[in-house]
Symmetry: C2
Subunit: 351 residues, 2 copies
């Protein structure tokens, strides 16, 4: 239970810009180091050598005081899963087997994955919509590391990356949006179509290859080649505020009409089930928490905090549940533990 | 709200025999009066005359002190619906247009319908499984009325009735069973097959032509011709206790196993939805109240009384809701009123 007391993930704060709809923003850059083959061809010894080189680069860059390195080789799967659920490492990194690891800050606003798909994946995360602030932040980090590490760079194509889709800036910007009203009103397809035409990608709460769940959608730029970071930022800056306005408009629409009753009912039923169920799957929990989150934003549920809900989306994931219980849990046990925990948290927060 | 304070329906008491499973027992006899054509051929004036004759017969039999007559011609539909929901009149009687009515006791344990499908339908109702007590009771009433009214009787076939299925004793015995565990375990089909082989009929909470809802099943004898009341009683006495034992056995089975968790969850979710929903259909309410009722019987929900639940099945029906509000309600309004009322009742009864 010590885990619980310590828990803080900066990007779950509900004080960020537009945080009724934008849960978090994130930017990552992919970097590789000269003199080493790309990840797919790295042998065991070279992997270990590269890991040391990066860790020492972080130290020399003066970042080690805040960014502590966590070597993941042979590390407990529950621990790795926890890092994944906090968006500190990717699914690929979670599954990796050789020498690899991640340096991250205590509140999880910066992480540097080592030996992921690329040698380095530097990542910054923040609550709400704040891509331009994050762009400044990651530029600063990237420059400090570039002074210590010899990045592979091609004069014509830009940063060399394992996957061609990342060549150029090697940068991906993304935002996590909560769009329950667009989902309820079935307008979400329109948004997807528009987003796809803009060459932006839509993913789920836990990134690549995950389904959207709980009405959360991660939107990010797809193409980096031939574009500057400012181009990428501009693309999202043009699109995201429109989606945010659209979601708000539909929420108001739902609220002004007779549908308010239906919405009230949906929110309250979700709350009723979450405060009563004895077993609940991750998927159902996400779905119901999403409705409750919208209920908080619309002033239907007045005694709950947005932070509590943002946090519940993460701490009810399998890694966090098992970390809290201090042991591996079967799925059935997780579903029971999840239900118990949600019940306690929501009841404590209710009138 | 005066309605609410006065509300008492004896057959909803939870103190009857086997009342964890048997909600109520009911016996009715069909009688017709010599000198009048059967109902289908009764003209307006004769209907009125017959009505007067029966009411005066009830008075002469010394039953009027307890059985007050309620003429239903041109009576408010909400009032008629209320009587139907208390099982004092049938659906056919609710819809009848000419001179017709019903005499009933304040607690609804006896009713005498006049000009239903037959000239008289005498009915006694009681909580739990108590068919033989009810048989004595209805015999007593029937004899008193027979002394004052000239029943049509055929020496070979017995009492003359409008529908041939009632010829003979004109009697139907029925019990209302609550069988959620048999439904959950999908064993209910086996019960139906057995019951049908016994020539017993299965109906829903509100009798003929109503679907079973909320896991309630009304079981009654089908064939009366050539059988004495004791034969009919024996048929049900042989079958009902077996179904009761079967339901109990399955409930225990559910409770002993791992399935206890699933059952707990089902009961608590039902309770969570009922104490939270802002709008709820009659069908969903019946279904969820059924799970809560089982939860009370199994000791999962300890702070609720069985009476409260038995009552909710009836007072959340459209007639009772509209009576309480003192006006006609559209379906949408009823669903909202129903949800509000259930919430208040269950919350008041919860810890």
């Amino acid at each position: 239970m010590g885990e619980q007391a310590q828990f803080r993930v900066a990007w779950l704060d509900a004080g960020g810009p537009d945080s009724d709809i934008v849960v978090s923003s994130r930017i990552r850059v992919a970097r590789n180091i000269e003199g080493y083959p790309l990840k797919v061809k790295l042998k065991g010894e070279q992997e270990a050598e590269l890991e040391s080189a990066v860790v020492s680069g972080i130290e020399r860059a003066g970042l080690a005081a805040n960014l502590s390195y966590d070597p993941l080789k042979d590390k407990d799967p529950v621990h790795r899963r926890l890092l994944f659920e906090r968006h500190l490492i990717s699914m690929e990194h979670l599954k990796a087997e050789g020498h690899h690891g991640v340096a991250y800050t205590p509140v999880g606003d910066v992480s540097v994955m080592v030996n992921e798909e690329d040698h380095l994946r530097i990542q910054v995360l923040g609550a709400g919509l704040q891509l331009s602030a994050l762009l400044q932040k990651i530029d600063g980090l990237d420059e400090k590391l570039a002074e210590q590490l010899d990045y592979s760079f091609h004069s014509q194509f830009g940063f060399v990356t394992s996957c061609p889709t990342n060549v150029g800036t090697g940068m991906r910007l993304s935002v996590m949006l909560h769009l329950p009203a667009l989902v309820l009103s079935k307008l979400i397809e329109k948004v997807f179509n528009a987003v796809n035409k803009m060459n932006l990608a839509v993913r789920g709460f836990y990134g690549e290859a995950t389904e959207a769940s709980g009405d959360f959608y991660q939107i990010s730029n797809q193409i980096t080649l031939g574009k500057t970071p400012d181009d990428l930022l501009a693309e999202l800056d043009k699109t995201i505020p429109k989606i945010v306005s659209y979601e708000r408009e539909v929420r108001r629409g739902l609220v002004d009409e007779d549908e308010r009753k239906i919405l009230d009912d949906k929110v309250w039923r979700a709350f009723g089930i979450l405060t009563s169920a004895r077993t609940i799957s991750s998927e159902e929990a996400m779905h119901l928490l999403s409705h409750v989150r919208m209920g908080v934003n619309l002033g239907i549920l007045t005694s709950l905090k947005l932070e509590t809900l943002n946090e519940l989306f993460v701490v009810t994931q399998p890694g966090h549940l098992q970390q809290r219980e201090g042991r591996t849990l079967k799925q059935e046990e997780r579903d029971i533990t999840r239900a118990t925990y949600i019940r306690e948290r929501l009841r404590a927060a209710s009138p």
